[in-house]
Protein backbone atom coordinates (compact mmCIF):
# COMPACT_ATOMS: atom_id res chain seq x y z
CA UNK A 1 0.00 0.00 0.00
CA UNK A 2 1.20 3.41 -0.93
CA UNK A 3 1.79 5.67 2.08
CA UNK A 4 -0.14 8.50 0.47
CA UNK A 5 -3.10 6.17 0.00
CA UNK A 6 -2.84 5.05 3.63
CA UNK A 7 -2.82 8.66 4.81
CA UNK A 8 -5.78 9.55 2.58
CA UNK A 9 -7.71 6.53 3.87
CA UNK A 10 -7.03 7.49 7.48
CA UNK A 11 -8.17 11.03 6.70
CA UNK A 12 -11.54 9.70 5.45
CA UNK A 13 -11.87 7.45 8.51
CA UNK A 14 -11.07 10.31 10.89
CA UNK A 15 -13.72 12.45 9.19
CA UNK A 16 -16.26 9.60 9.63
CA UNK A 17 -16.77 9.11 5.88
CA UNK A 18 -17.00 5.70 4.17
CA UNK A 19 -14.22 4.71 1.76
CA UNK A 20 -13.22 1.56 -0.11
CA UNK A 21 -9.70 0.37 -0.89
CA UNK A 22 -9.68 -1.48 -4.23
CA UNK A 23 -6.80 -3.93 -4.76
CA UNK A 24 -6.19 -5.88 -7.99
CA UNK A 25 -4.80 -9.08 -6.56
CA UNK A 26 -2.89 -10.14 -9.69
CA UNK A 27 -0.97 -6.88 -10.05
CA UNK A 28 -1.13 -5.34 -6.60
CA UNK A 29 -2.52 -2.15 -8.18
CA UNK A 30 -4.54 -0.23 -5.66
CA UNK A 31 -6.81 2.79 -5.40
CA UNK A 32 -8.90 4.57 -2.78
CA UNK A 33 -12.52 5.26 -3.65
CA UNK A 34 -14.22 7.79 -1.39
CA UNK A 35 -17.96 7.59 -0.74
CA UNK A 36 -18.47 10.68 -2.93
CA UNK A 37 -16.47 9.18 -5.82
CA UNK A 38 -18.21 5.80 -6.11
CA UNK A 39 -20.47 6.79 -9.00
CA UNK A 40 -17.54 7.58 -11.31
CA UNK A 41 -15.61 4.39 -10.59
CA UNK A 42 -15.53 1.51 -13.13
CA UNK A 43 -16.43 -0.86 -10.26
CA UNK A 44 -19.23 1.39 -8.97
CA UNK A 45 -21.73 -1.46 -8.51
CA UNK A 46 -19.69 -3.84 -6.33
CA UNK A 47 -18.17 -0.89 -4.43
CA UNK A 48 -21.64 0.49 -3.73
CA UNK A 49 -22.68 -2.97 -2.56
CA UNK A 50 -19.66 -3.24 -0.22
CA UNK A 51 -20.54 0.11 1.37
CA UNK A 52 -24.24 -0.73 1.66
CA UNK A 53 -23.59 -4.10 3.28
CA UNK A 54 -20.53 -3.06 5.27
CA UNK A 55 -18.89 -6.27 4.06
CA UNK A 56 -15.49 -6.47 2.42
CA UNK A 57 -14.81 -9.16 -0.17
CA UNK A 58 -13.53 -10.23 -3.55
CA UNK A 59 -15.16 -9.15 -6.80
CA UNK A 60 -14.49 -10.97 -10.07
CA UNK A 61 -13.74 -8.49 -12.85
CA UNK A 62 -12.25 -8.47 -16.33
CA UNK A 63 -8.89 -7.76 -14.70
CA UNK A 64 -9.21 -10.83 -12.45
CA UNK A 65 -9.86 -10.91 -8.72
CA UNK A 66 -10.22 -7.56 -7.03
CA UNK A 67 -10.42 -7.15 -3.26
CA UNK A 68 -12.76 -4.44 -1.99
CA UNK A 69 -12.05 -3.40 1.57
CA UNK A 70 -14.96 -1.33 2.87
CA UNK A 71 -14.05 1.08 5.65
CA UNK A 72 -17.16 2.42 7.35
CA UNK A 73 -17.16 4.84 10.26
CA UNK A 74 -17.57 3.15 13.65
CA UNK A 75 -21.10 3.36 14.99
CA UNK A 76 -21.62 5.71 17.90
CA UNK A 77 -24.46 6.63 20.20
CA UNK A 78 -25.03 10.20 21.34
CA UNK A 79 -27.28 10.48 24.38
CA UNK A 80 -28.82 13.89 25.04
CA UNK A 81 -29.35 13.91 28.79
CA UNK A 82 -27.04 12.93 31.64
CA UNK A 83 -29.92 11.18 33.38
CA UNK A 84 -30.36 7.93 35.27
CA UNK A 85 -30.99 5.95 32.06
CA UNK A 86 -27.73 7.26 30.56
CA UNK A 87 -25.85 6.03 33.61
CA UNK A 88 -27.00 2.51 32.76
CA UNK A 89 -26.65 3.00 29.01
CA UNK A 90 -23.03 4.20 29.14
CA UNK A 91 -21.41 0.90 30.23
CA UNK A 92 -23.87 -1.22 28.23
CA UNK A 93 -23.20 0.68 24.98
CA UNK A 94 -19.49 0.24 25.53
CA UNK A 95 -19.84 -3.52 26.07
CA UNK A 96 -21.96 -3.80 22.92
CA UNK A 97 -19.11 -2.11 21.00
CA UNK A 98 -20.47 1.39 20.35
CA UNK A 99 -18.63 4.65 20.84
CA UNK A 100 -20.77 6.50 23.35
CA UNK A 101 -21.07 10.08 24.47
CA UNK A 102 -23.42 12.13 26.60
CA UNK A 103 -24.35 15.77 26.16
CA UNK A 104 -26.28 17.73 28.79
CA UNK A 105 -25.87 21.44 29.57
CA UNK A 106 -27.10 20.95 33.15
CA UNK A 107 -23.91 20.82 35.16
CA UNK A 108 -25.72 19.29 38.14
CA UNK A 109 -26.45 16.20 36.00
CA UNK A 110 -23.37 16.06 33.80
CA UNK A 111 -20.74 15.27 36.41
CA UNK A 112 -17.84 12.84 36.00
CA UNK A 113 -18.79 11.25 39.35
CA UNK A 114 -22.09 10.08 37.90
CA UNK A 115 -20.44 8.88 34.65
CA UNK A 116 -17.01 7.44 35.43
CA UNK A 117 -14.98 6.89 32.28
CA UNK A 118 -17.68 8.19 29.93
CA UNK A 119 -17.29 10.90 27.29
CA UNK A 120 -19.39 13.65 28.79
CA UNK A 121 -19.91 17.25 27.68
CA UNK A 122 -21.71 19.73 29.94
CA UNK A 123 -22.68 22.15 27.18
CA UNK A 124 -25.70 22.89 25.00
CA UNK A 125 -26.16 20.27 22.27
CA UNK A 126 -26.30 22.95 19.53
CA UNK A 127 -22.81 24.10 20.51
CA UNK A 128 -21.37 20.59 20.78
CA UNK A 129 -22.92 19.43 17.50
CA UNK A 130 -21.45 22.41 15.68
CA UNK A 131 -18.00 21.11 16.52
CA UNK A 132 -18.82 17.40 16.17
CA UNK A 133 -21.72 17.11 13.72
CA UNK A 134 -24.06 14.13 13.68
CA UNK A 135 -23.89 11.73 10.74
CA UNK A 136 -25.58 8.63 9.34
CA UNK A 137 -23.39 6.32 11.46
CA UNK A 138 -24.62 7.92 14.68
CA UNK A 139 -27.63 6.98 16.81
CA UNK A 140 -29.23 9.78 18.78
CA UNK A 141 -31.25 9.21 21.96
CA UNK A 142 -32.87 12.30 23.44
CA UNK A 143 -33.80 11.58 27.02
CA UNK A 144 -33.90 14.78 29.04
CA UNK A 145 -37.69 15.34 28.73
CA UNK A 146 -36.90 19.03 28.29
CA UNK A 147 -37.77 20.50 24.87
CA UNK A 148 -35.24 23.31 25.39
CA UNK A 149 -32.48 20.68 25.43
CA UNK A 150 -34.00 17.88 23.32
CA UNK A 151 -35.58 19.56 20.30
CA UNK A 152 -32.50 20.97 18.62
CA UNK A 153 -30.47 17.72 18.57
CA UNK A 154 -33.60 15.80 17.60
CA UNK A 155 -34.07 17.96 14.51
CA UNK A 156 -30.33 17.77 13.74
CA UNK A 157 -30.48 13.97 13.98
CA UNK A 158 -33.34 13.76 11.49
CA UNK A 159 -31.60 16.13 9.08
CA UNK A 160 -28.30 14.24 9.35
CA UNK A 161 -30.03 10.92 8.59
CA UNK A 162 -28.85 9.29 11.82
CA UNK A 163 -29.38 5.53 11.65
CA UNK A 164 -31.46 5.64 14.82
CA UNK A 165 -33.40 8.46 16.45
CA UNK A 166 -35.27 7.84 19.69
CA UNK A 167 -37.00 10.20 22.09
CA UNK A 168 -38.04 9.53 25.67
CA UNK A 169 -41.50 10.47 26.76
CA UNK A 170 -45.06 9.25 27.01
CA UNK A 171 -47.36 9.27 24.01
CA UNK A 172 -48.79 12.58 25.27
CA UNK A 173 -45.33 14.15 25.57
CA UNK A 174 -44.50 12.87 22.12
CA UNK A 175 -47.72 14.28 20.62
CA UNK A 176 -46.70 17.73 21.87
CA UNK A 177 -43.20 17.15 20.50
CA UNK A 178 -44.62 16.24 17.08
CA UNK A 179 -46.59 19.50 17.06
CA UNK A 180 -43.42 21.47 17.77
CA UNK A 181 -41.50 19.63 15.02
CA UNK A 182 -44.26 20.24 12.49
CA UNK A 183 -44.17 23.88 13.55
CA UNK A 184 -40.43 23.86 12.87
CA UNK A 185 -41.11 22.67 9.31
CA UNK A 186 -39.96 19.06 9.71
CA UNK A 187 -41.81 16.79 7.25
CA UNK A 188 -44.08 14.12 8.71
CA UNK A 189 -42.08 11.34 7.00
CA UNK A 190 -39.02 12.41 9.01
CA UNK A 191 -40.96 12.75 12.24
CA UNK A 192 -42.20 9.19 11.73
CA UNK A 193 -38.60 7.99 11.99
CA UNK A 194 -38.46 8.94 15.68
CA UNK A 195 -38.92 5.96 17.96
CA UNK A 196 -41.21 7.19 20.75
CA UNK A 197 -41.69 5.84 23.31
CA UNK A 198 -37.98 5.10 23.05
CA UNK A 199 -36.61 1.56 22.93
CA UNK A 200 -37.82 -1.92 22.02
CA UNK A 201 -41.28 -2.68 23.35
CA UNK A 202 -40.31 -5.13 26.12
CA UNK A 203 -42.20 -3.47 28.95
CA UNK A 204 -39.01 -1.90 30.32
CA UNK A 205 -39.58 -0.04 33.55
CA UNK A 206 -36.38 0.68 35.50
CA UNK A 207 -33.58 2.87 34.08
CA UNK A 208 -31.46 -0.24 33.49
CA UNK A 209 -34.27 -2.00 31.65
CA UNK A 210 -34.97 1.07 29.53
CA UNK A 211 -31.27 1.21 28.67
CA UNK A 212 -31.48 -2.42 27.47
CA UNK A 213 -34.57 -1.57 25.40
CA UNK A 214 -32.83 1.45 23.82
CA UNK A 215 -29.74 -0.58 23.03
CA UNK A 216 -31.84 -3.32 21.43
CA UNK A 217 -33.46 -0.76 19.13
CA UNK A 218 -30.10 0.83 18.27
CA UNK A 219 -28.54 -2.56 17.45
CA UNK A 220 -31.52 -3.49 15.28
CA UNK A 221 -31.30 -0.23 13.33
CA UNK A 222 -27.54 -0.63 12.95
CA UNK A 223 -27.66 -4.23 11.75
CA UNK A 224 -30.51 -3.46 9.37
CA UNK A 225 -28.27 -0.73 7.91
CA UNK A 226 -30.68 2.14 8.57
CA UNK A 227 -27.84 4.59 7.89
CA UNK A 228 -28.95 4.34 4.26
CA UNK A 229 -32.08 6.33 3.44
CA UNK A 230 -33.53 3.68 1.13
CA UNK A 231 -33.29 1.12 3.95
CA UNK A 232 -35.44 3.43 6.02
CA UNK A 233 -37.95 3.65 3.20
CA UNK A 234 -37.09 7.31 2.66
CA UNK A 235 -36.84 8.94 -0.71
CA UNK A 236 -36.20 12.54 0.14
CA UNK A 237 -33.85 13.98 2.74
CA UNK A 238 -35.35 15.88 5.70
Amino acid sequence: MDRTLLAALNEERAARRAAVVVTELATGRQRLVRESEVGGDPLADPIEKAIRSGKSGIAETGAGEVFLNAHLPPARIVAIGAVHISQALAPMAKIAGFDFEIIDPRTAFATPERFPGAVLTAEWPEDVLKARPLDAYTAVCVITHDPKIDDHPLISALKAGCFYVGALGSRKTHARRVERLIGAGIPQSSIDRIEAPIGADIGASTPGEIAVAILASVIEAFRKRKMFAERRGEKEPA
Partner: protein, 109 residues
Protein backbone atom coordinates in the same frame (compact mmCIF):
# COMPACT_ATOMS: atom_id res chain seq x y z
CA UNK B 1 -18.52 -1.61 15.09
CA UNK B 2 -17.35 -3.92 17.86
CA UNK B 3 -13.64 -4.01 17.06
CA UNK B 4 -13.01 -0.31 16.82
CA UNK B 5 -14.13 0.38 20.35
CA UNK B 6 -11.62 -1.92 21.99
CA UNK B 7 -8.70 -2.55 19.67
CA UNK B 8 -5.85 -0.33 18.65
CA UNK B 9 -6.36 1.28 15.27
CA UNK B 10 -4.12 -0.78 12.98
CA UNK B 11 -4.18 1.65 10.04
CA UNK B 12 -3.31 4.61 12.24
CA UNK B 13 -0.49 2.55 13.74
CA UNK B 14 0.70 1.75 10.19
CA UNK B 15 0.71 5.43 9.25
CA UNK B 16 2.59 6.33 12.41
CA UNK B 17 5.18 3.58 11.95
CA UNK B 18 5.68 4.55 8.30
CA UNK B 19 6.17 8.16 9.43
CA UNK B 20 8.93 6.96 11.77
CA UNK B 21 10.74 5.58 8.73
CA UNK B 22 10.11 1.93 9.58
CA UNK B 23 9.77 -0.63 6.75
CA UNK B 24 6.31 -2.18 6.92
CA UNK B 25 4.00 -4.77 5.50
CA UNK B 26 0.23 -4.78 5.77
CA UNK B 27 -1.62 -8.11 5.92
CA UNK B 28 -5.34 -8.16 5.11
CA UNK B 29 -7.88 -10.99 5.31
CA UNK B 30 -9.33 -11.10 1.78
CA UNK B 31 -11.45 -14.26 1.94
CA UNK B 32 -12.80 -16.60 4.61
CA UNK B 33 -14.53 -19.97 4.59
CA UNK B 34 -16.26 -21.66 7.52
CA UNK B 35 -15.82 -20.33 11.01
CA UNK B 36 -12.93 -17.94 10.46
CA UNK B 37 -12.09 -15.96 13.59
CA UNK B 38 -11.66 -12.53 11.93
CA UNK B 39 -13.81 -11.06 9.15
CA UNK B 40 -12.56 -10.07 5.69
CA UNK B 41 -10.89 -6.70 5.75
CA UNK B 42 -9.14 -7.30 9.10
CA UNK B 43 -5.58 -5.99 9.20
CA UNK B 44 -2.24 -6.85 10.74
CA UNK B 45 0.69 -4.44 10.34
CA UNK B 46 4.21 -5.81 10.66
CA UNK B 47 7.62 -4.08 10.68
CA UNK B 48 10.98 -5.48 9.53
CA UNK B 49 11.86 -6.43 13.11
CA UNK B 50 8.73 -8.55 13.44
CA UNK B 51 6.80 -6.12 15.66
CA UNK B 52 3.10 -6.21 14.84
CA UNK B 53 -0.32 -4.76 15.73
CA UNK B 54 -3.77 -6.06 14.88
CA UNK B 55 -4.85 -9.56 13.87
CA UNK B 56 -5.94 -11.63 10.90
CA UNK B 57 -7.03 -14.68 12.85
CA UNK B 58 -7.30 -13.80 16.52
CA UNK B 59 -3.87 -15.25 17.28
CA UNK B 60 -3.91 -18.55 15.35
CA UNK B 61 -1.67 -17.90 12.36
CA UNK B 62 -0.14 -14.50 13.11
CA UNK B 63 3.29 -16.06 13.64
CA UNK B 64 3.34 -17.47 10.12
CA UNK B 65 2.02 -14.22 8.63
CA UNK B 66 4.70 -12.18 10.39
CA UNK B 67 7.44 -14.44 8.96
CA UNK B 68 6.04 -14.10 5.43
CA UNK B 69 5.59 -10.35 5.90
CA UNK B 70 9.28 -9.90 6.62
CA UNK B 71 10.01 -11.58 3.26
CA UNK B 72 7.52 -9.26 1.55
CA UNK B 73 9.19 -6.21 3.11
CA UNK B 74 12.53 -7.36 1.67
CA UNK B 75 11.32 -8.57 -1.72
CA UNK B 76 8.71 -5.85 -2.34
CA UNK B 77 6.20 -7.99 -4.24
CA UNK B 78 2.86 -8.77 -2.57
CA UNK B 79 1.94 -12.34 -1.62
CA UNK B 80 -1.28 -14.23 -1.01
CA UNK B 81 -1.24 -16.76 1.85
CA UNK B 82 -3.80 -19.39 2.60
CA UNK B 83 -4.31 -21.03 5.96
CA UNK B 84 -6.39 -23.72 7.49
CA UNK B 85 -8.33 -26.78 6.50
CA UNK B 86 -10.13 -29.05 8.87
CA UNK B 87 -7.28 -31.54 9.25
CA UNK B 88 -4.08 -32.11 11.22
CA UNK B 89 -2.24 -29.32 9.38
CA UNK B 90 -4.86 -26.79 10.34
CA UNK B 91 -4.62 -27.86 13.96
CA UNK B 92 -0.85 -27.45 13.87
CA UNK B 93 -0.90 -24.03 12.17
CA UNK B 94 -3.57 -23.00 14.56
CA UNK B 95 -6.95 -22.74 12.83
CA UNK B 96 -8.38 -25.44 15.04
CA UNK B 97 -11.85 -24.04 14.46
CA UNK B 98 -11.81 -25.62 10.99
CA UNK B 99 -12.01 -22.29 9.19
CA UNK B 100 -9.97 -21.26 6.21
CA UNK B 101 -8.61 -17.82 5.40
CA UNK B 102 -6.76 -16.10 2.57
CA UNK B 103 -4.45 -13.27 3.53
CA UNK B 104 -2.96 -10.62 1.23
CA UNK B 105 0.41 -9.33 2.36
CA UNK B 106 1.79 -6.16 0.78
CA UNK B 107 4.59 -3.75 1.48
CA UNK B 108 3.74 -0.25 2.72
CA UNK B 109 6.00 2.18 0.89
Amino acid sequence: MSETAIELDVLKTAERWAGEGRSLALATVIETWGSAPRPTGSHLVIDAEGNFEGSVSGGCVEGAVVAEAIDVIEAGAPKILEFGVADETAWRVGLSCGGRIRVYVERVA
